[in-house]
């Protein structure tokens, strides 16, 4: 692969692709080229088999039963919590709360943290390039509590304007909530610096890690953020499972969000006392099987190595960016200096929805739309973009095919 400059020596992509059964299929008579990894990723056979094996032989309720099946399932379930904690660099496994994904994770923090710490006149800071999941919960919270939402602006390349960010911070700031990687542009935000500055005024920090978790080696203690969210289905695991890391000292101060079974210490008909974190935030029977799948996905990522994944995907991004810069009539939306493997682009002649239709005819799965980030689209003056988001199972040849198909489509519409 020396001619593409993609780091084929870092990873054996052909071998990796054999781990993903879905990738070997054809779509409309052409080999599937899957480039919608920022929306959801596919599962290696080890995840599929771990889930199947667990359901076939080990399934049981967790943290309730006192018989063998349940005790064993509980043990496996808690082992995955430890695995997630290690993967993220958390100090204690109890700092990991399982949720259905990032959306629920942010809602949990916005509701619970908001109820305890956000009052009239307080301020919440987000950025202009957030996913709706990291905008709407804070908007709703601000409306409910009489707080104010402030927005970090973004420059033409897709980078947050840090001088403006500093000006937004004040002793009234209760929370700064930003993504690690923008799903619409690919920008990698300077979250360590963002955290430091927020802490300097006494604010807490939530990092939306839905996009970063599968691409960047994490160390939440080094970042020093107070919360960090993730989604299993964006990191080669099942949908319906994800979670949030939170500093134990903050979790302990927070009231429950969803209430019911399993999150209690004691219930009488007059009064309930709550369990300690993480159980306080995990009411009801959790998605047990999906947790097992998440564990298998983390094992798979660890086996390949997050550093290698990042290196390989960076070289794919560089290769793809070079290709797209040469296509006439296309501009890349989001040219930050530090980017994850996402290329969002726009053509004046072919609307993104027409574009993805033609790409689909060539077996290429790309997303066309606003990517649940309408304020980002408004900022760059486009109704939508076409987005190619790459994973470590993608090959440079697939980007060649994409570029060719994009050019063909532009010719049709010009």
């Amino acid at each position: 692969m020396s001619d593409t400059g993609v780091a084929g020596n870092v990873l054996d992509v052909e071998k990796i692709r054999k781990d993903f059964p879905i990738l070997s299929q054809s779509v409309r008579g052409k080999p599937l080229i899957y480039l919608d990894n920022a929306a959801t990723t596919h599962k290696p056979i080890s995840v599929i088999e771990r889930v199947r094996n667990f359901d076939a032989e080990k399934y049981g309720t967790v943290r309730r039963g006192t018989y063998k099946l349940s005790e064993h399932a509980t043990q496996l379930y808690e082992e995955v919590r430890q695995k997630v904690a290690d993967f993220m660099g958390a100090e204690k496994k109890g700092e990991i709360v399982f949720t259905s994904g990032t959306t629920q994770a942010i809602n949990l923090v916005a509701h619970s943290f908001g109820k305890r710490f956000v009052n009239e006149g307080d301020e919440i800071v987000i950025s202009n390039i957030e996913h709706h999941a990291n905008i709407v919960p804070w908007q709703v919270l601000c409306e409910e509590r009489g707080a104010k939402l402030k927005v970090i602006p973004v420059d033409d390349d897709g980078e947050l304007v840090m001088e403006e960010y500093e000006k937004l911070l004040s002793p009234k700031t209760r929370m700064v909530a930003v993504n690690h990687v923008s799903n619409a542009l690919g920008t990698i935000n300077p979250i360590k610096e963002i955290t430091q500055k927020a802490h300097a005024v006494g604010a807490r920090v939530l990092i939306d890690g839905a996009q970063s978790t599968p691409h960047i080696k994490l160390d939440v203690r080094d970042i020093d953020c107070d919360f960090y969210t993730f989604s299993g289905h964006k990191m080669y695991g099942p949908s319906g499972i994800g979670g949030v890391y939170g500093k134990m000292e903050v979790w302990e101060e927070m009231p429950p969000y969803v209430t019911g079974g399993d999150m209690i210490m004691q219930v009488t008909l007059e009064k309930t006392t709550y369990a300690k974190p993480p159980a306080r935030f995990e009411a009801g029977t959790p998605p047990i099987t999906q947790v097992m799948g998440l564990g298998a996905a983390i094992d798979y990522l660890n086996e390949i190595g997050m550093d290698k994944i990042a290196d390989y995907e960076n070289s794919l991004l560089e290769y793809g960016t070079r290709l797209f810069k040469e296509i006439e009539g296309v501009r890349i939306i989001g040219n930050a200096r530090s980017k994850a493997s996402i290329i969002s682009f726009f053509s004046d002649s072919a609307h993104p929805h027409d574009m993805v239709h033609f790409l689909d005819q060539d077996g290429i799965a790309c997303r066309g739309g606003h990517h649940c980030a309408q304020p980002t689209m408004i900022r760059y003056g486009v109704p939508a973009t076409t987005r190619a988001s790459m994973a470590f199972y993608n090959k440079p040849e697939e980007l060649d095919a994409l570029a060719e198909s994009v050019q063909k489509c532009i010719r049709i519409f010009s």
Binding site: D354, H357, H370, P383, F413
Partner: protein, 152 residues
């Protein structure tokens, strides 16, 4: 008449490049703003209706969207001029049924004329709203929905 299941036919591409009746009507008797939140298609349909005769004298649109939504709206405007309000409503129903695959213009009687070009949409369920936005917005205008309409 022969039918073609292909979605992006020359006529559709042509209406996308050069949309017909692509302007606002000042002091229109009816107008409505329609959006397709899933895609970001955003149009406004303007009508001048002769209320006594129940007839559409003028129809135009403005907005932005994908080729399907733009061509669908453009062709709707050329098709409806001079038709009665009742006819327009009936055609909307038939068009909707056709793109959902509930009515086969090859087998059933209809009044869609060249609008059967959009038949291919039935193969692509995610795109039906692109084609139907024009018609939802038209009905919104006729029904005087001042808050606008949405396909969601």
């Amino acid at each position: 008449m022969s039918y073609n299941n292909e979605l992006y036919q020359q006529v559709i591409l042509d209406h996308n490049r050069k949309p017909r009746n692509f302007h606002a009507i000042e002091n229109a008797s009816h107008s409505c703003h329609g959006i397709n939140p899933l895609c970001g298609d955003d149009i406004t349909v303007y009508l001048n209706v002769d209320e006594e005769a129940g007839k559409i004298d003028e129809v135009s649109f403005q907005g932005s969207g994908c080729a399907i939504s733009k061509a669908s709206t453009s062709m709707m405007t050329t098709f409806l001029k001079g038709k009665s309000v009742d006819e327009a409503r009936q055609i909307k129903e038939e068009f909707h049924k056709m793109i959902l695959g509930e009515m086969d213009p090859e087998k059933e009687e209809h009044h869609l004329g060249k609008l059967t070009l959009f038949m291919g949409i039935r193969e692509y369920p995610s795109r039906t709203k692109c084609a139907s936005l024009a018609w939802h917005t038209l009905v919104g205008a006729l029904d005087k929905k001042f808050d606008g309409v949405s396909t969601e």
